[in-house]
Symmetry: C2
Subunit: 132 residues, 2 copies
């Protein structure tokens, strides 16, 4: 059905070789910098195909879709609203409770997206809470 062409292989290699949460555009730019220039439409189609194949993961927040390695296993994201840095975390109990919350409403849970916004340690130090 889907072919793993050289372009898609390049996209996959780049994603697999980094811990970055790639957006289509920056991924295309990085590939271009490496001499593997790929049309932006092909990048979008390639990312969708790779996700469909279960080879990469995606998260959406801040109005943009981002892709990352899938071999890190499931995790959620902690986004710093100060500097934009992204931390990952996994909280098994939250996972379980989400299942429970869905079931409580009679839903069959198929997925979820949890993004916690806040200030990372560095930014929190620069933005002291009122009174500091």
């Amino acid at each position: 059905m889907s072919r793993l062409t050289s372009q898609r292989q390049a996209i996959l290699d780049l994603i697999r070789s980094s811990d970055t949460h790639w957006e289509a555009e920056s991924l295309a730019r990085e590939l271009a910098d490496r001499g593997q220039s790929i049309g932006i439409a092909t990048v979008y189609r390639g990312l969708a195909a790779l996700e469909e194949l279960g080879l990469i993961d995606s998260i959406q927040f801040g109005g943009k879709k981002r892709y990352e390695r899938i071999d890190k296993g499931h995790h959620d994201h902690l986004v710093c609203t100060g500097c934009g840095s992204i931390e990952e975390f996994i909280h098994p109990q939250i996972e379980r409770l989400q299942q429970a919350a869905a079931e409580q409403k009679g839903f069959v849970m198929t997925g979820h997206q949890l993004v916690i916004y806040g200030l990372c340690p560095a930014c929190a130090a620069q933005h002291p809470v009122a009174g500091g």
Copy 2:
């Protein structure tokens, strides 16, 4: 600072009088239907202003921003991928654990967004799991 103009009052009234998760466009259409036609840019600016003032709430998923009443208190969302219906739920324990997860990484949590995807009871009945 921000003025609560007649346009913004109309937006606020509409949101407060319903349990809908409004998108800018459908809200503008509904207002137009009621004879209160407001420019789409004004709707966007008004929604942003009302959110800033803490008068309405927003959630973002599916690439779109949605606005809803704030007086329902905090809650998260359960979105049916079959029919698009949205259920709300609140799970105090999940809230608490999110705080804990953020703290574990040294973050000061300022907000979060949790969307659980799944099939609502009606859609689940129509999409029996393999084996059914």
